[in-house]
Symmetry: D2
Subunit: 319 residues, 4 copies
């Protein structure tokens, strides 16, 4: 331990001795101590992230968007729209419907990560252009997923917020590049990521100088198969405690079943979420992807009305 | 399949043939079909529980308790108290505090299931007597955990509701005996139980003729270690859809960290819970078990006040 | 910490202070320290089990059975037979087949824990008598599952080893009673039990004075659905390191698919298992339970022949 | 269903009707059927991967490497070396040691995916050059991890096999690019990937025309914390059944604890693995990453000697 740059403090008990290393060596792995002869166990006590920690900005991070929308303040912000951009008609109608319901952001995938190479992969740059057009037409902001470093430059002119999907939460090269961009990002929790890993991935982006970062709980993989994922609602208040970054909930991916989405959206805001990301499709039964978890337009409208009533119970309001 | 008593229907496609078995054979295991030569996969399509299914009582089950409290109706019912009964003073003070906060039931363990044989195991029948005494004194009902068949008779005179703990959710002999009792039960989800298994365990109790059964989500085991368990809030609306039985949430065991309990209690009710089971201790720092997840009395009081505001948003009120 | 009976040692660093409590207070819960103001995190460093620890008997526990079979020595012991006793013919034929293959124990359930109350529940005491009869006739020992305290006395005259199923691994009242019996037990790992919890449950039996205990890995519940469970082969060498108790593998429940059982049996012995518990049925396609995971008699025979070749590679032989 | 291009077959029972869709529509999501009114549940019966399926090449895929090494044949192939390339001395000594032990491939990371941005990130192209040099000097092949599309071209001149790490198993853009390369790849199972998802990711590479692909089990994330991951040994025989591609085991990441690696390596080969990927470091206590799971040189040597004895039991030999 001394070799690694620690100051060592010794505590001796009847049956064992505890060595505490104090200091901040650059490189060390706590597992290396676990395997030493005579060592029963070893723990890392200080947290391995710095810029993402609540202490770094105890008052919380507020992210200001072009049209005056603020994420991380008193207002709970709704982002909604279809899983994929499919056509001008579809995305324009979606935009009008989410705007009418009360959303501030239009979501919609132009590049789609799909488990199978034979599934629909998105419209690409054509989709980005449509998103920008209809968002401007309806007075919304645009959030869409970036999957690859080469897409960053392409996307910049068209969007207001980069979405980093669950499968890319540990695509460290992508995260590092997004740290150098001056555009807000929303980072989704990986399907098997611990809360600490979410914060370490956030650290990749923050350490590049991009502080406009939103975190998003979207369901984790467990043994339960009834729902698509198990939405870890407790991650919302836990993250709010550990970090200064705004925290969203994505109930659509969280449970994957349309009729459960409203309950989980209400639960997310009750638990302290700063916003919601939800899939809505003008005609979910014809959607090219994620139809089963997309709300009908009238469900979204009814839900936002309920959220308006619920938000004040936890000291918030709907933007 | 014919030997098992199925009528078999055949569907032939280009690359495979589907055989559908129709009927209700007593004994069969879908896994047995999976391993046959030439079989790609096999599924059970009808649900294996009957009495627990929503169809059996589409209007929902309402359970009436002695003092007029109804579980499963419009009112959300609060059950609270310490993890263990420790002394007359402690449980009397607890009863007064939970009553003042708005709870209808006093909880408290007389028999404690503990992972380690060296942990405090409960006061036994002495604890049961204290629970009854102080509940009568304060106008509360009593719920406490039953661990063993031999305890059922002992407990009957003292309690209003049997609690079946997560570790006993598949103690089928115990469940079967409780099916023959005429006293309500609350069945907690096992730490790794699927929603279907919860309903099959419920079926053991219902099939004995005891229909006064409450189900309770209390957190499942996942890879995340920050919280004690991962509370599966989505299980609440899922169970409400699949079964007619009332569904509670137990945020204390769900997350295991006091300061997260209020957020998870609010989320549970927002998601449709019929009631809450929560640990409160007059002095959590001195509690003999579960102190870390027990609310302070003033936290419970503040929380119930918030719940009173939230319940109407989802068409409910606090009992 | 002082109030709880610890001697406290303090280590002060630039950013935080570490307090180490030395001593052995009877009751304390490490989680209680985690929630105190100003505490970042808390760990328990000494292990919470004592009699089960490797240190207690560094040379390892050897269990001697009536006919000279020793579990925990150089020999790897095979236990096999059908999931359930179904009839005299079925269990006699099973006994002859497992004996011929090289097994030393006949397994077979007389009392069956079944998720559904409508599934076959076992033959009860009639099944116990048949097990004893055919085992004596063929020169085998008997292992069968105990589900309930009241069954212990009933079973004692008929069996050589109690099997405690995964669902009862934390049925602490049952464990405590089995600690007072003078007959070996085999304790299966619960479906979501940690290795530490297995050892704590073992401690319940050992602390009653019954040291003839075998532990058994039988698959844990994960998100993977292709296999019935995920067999945690690494639990075998981990347990061998942490405890002096013999450790078995149960590949039948571990994977639940007949054709994978031989590979997992070989893997278990390669990883250091002291024995195997495997389901075999004279006619798996007609089995009343677990047919899909039961080996054909000829598969068992071929497998044991392979195991005889493999065992010497890891310094063992087949009994 | 008809709109999607299915031929529909109807099976009517007393309580429900089953509709079977036959045909091969391009785009559909089984979840969309689950949410329709009146639908109890829906299943996809044909497998969603084609080129990766065992049927596509029933005899199995053999991959031929420059120096005559064949992966997927009778011989079990060992790949070993340090987690990271740290210096010329370190990697040359490593190469000599793994060669002496019997390995055919030298592994070592030049680009390192690290959870924290503050951990050592690898030597980059300098590391690639060192790998090639010392491999040529010692007569070994080179396998190393590719994290990013832009690295593919850079790496091509220096390596014999691309390794795709667990975190990139669903980095679909990277997979698609590697499908267009004519160089073998080894694809690691994601930390929470199902077996079906592994095969769908394989399909991305195969569908680009690159058939020289090895799959690798390296541990999945479960609730158990004693080991770094839970190595799913059963995935090896399952994959061997479902696909024609060779399947490796990586016990180093599988368990993350040096002293468990030999047991898990033996178990992998006993269960049918075509090869092993294992970390070894000349001086694990000084390693810059993964020291705790790296074997000592003498451990590797002893292990390979044991593997030579074990392989014939399952009809194989060590290359």
């Amino acid at each position: 331990m001394v070799e690694l740059g620690f100051n060592v403090h010794r505590t001796t008990g009847a049956a064992q001795t505890i060595l505490a290393g104090v200091g901040t060596p650059e490189h060390f792995d706590v597992a290396e101590f676990k395997v030493l002869d005579g060592v029963h166990d070893a723990y890392r006590i200080s947290s391995p992230y710095k810029l993402a920690g609540r202490n770094f900005r105890p008052e919380g991070t507020k992210i200001k968007f072009p049209n005056g929308v603020v994420v991380g303040g008193e207002e709970v912000v709704i982002m909604s729209g279809p899983c994929s951009v499919e056509s001008r008609e579809q995305i324009l109608l979606s935009a009008k419907q989410v705007k009418a319901a009360g959303a501030k952001f239009l979501r919609g995938g132009a590049y789609k990560p799909r488990s199978s190479p034979y599934s629909f992969q998105g419209m690409g740059v054509e989709g980005l252009k449509l998103l920008r057009e209809v968002a401007d037409e309806t007075g919304l902001l645009v959030i869409t997923e970036v999957m690859e470093i080469s897409q960053i430059e392409v996307m910049l002119p068209y969007i207001d917020c980069f979405q980093i999907g669950a499968r890319n939460m540990q695509n460290f090269n992508l995260l590092r590049e997004l740290g150098h961009v001056r555009k807000p990002c929303l980072l989704k929790r990986g399907i098997a990521a611990t809360i600490e890993e979410v914060l370490l991935s956030a650290e990749y982006i923050l350490s590049g100088g991009n502080y406009d970062l939103i975190l998003c709980e979207r369901g984790i993989r467990t043994y339960e198969t009834y729902t698509r994922n198990t939405m870890d609602i407790s991650a919302i208040p836990v993250l709010k405690k550990l970090t200064h970054l705004p925290v969203f909930g994505d109930p659509s991916h969280g449970v994957g079943i349309r009729d459960l989405v409203p309950s989980m959206a209400l639960a997310s805001v009750a638990a302290g979420a700063d916003g919601l990301l939800m899939e809505m499709h003008p005609n979910p039964d014809k959607a090219m992807s994620d139809g089963a978890q997309s709300l009908y337009p009238e469900q979204l409208e009814k839900l936002v009305a309920q959220l308006r009533q619920l938000a004040p119970v936890v000291g918030r309001k709907i933007a």
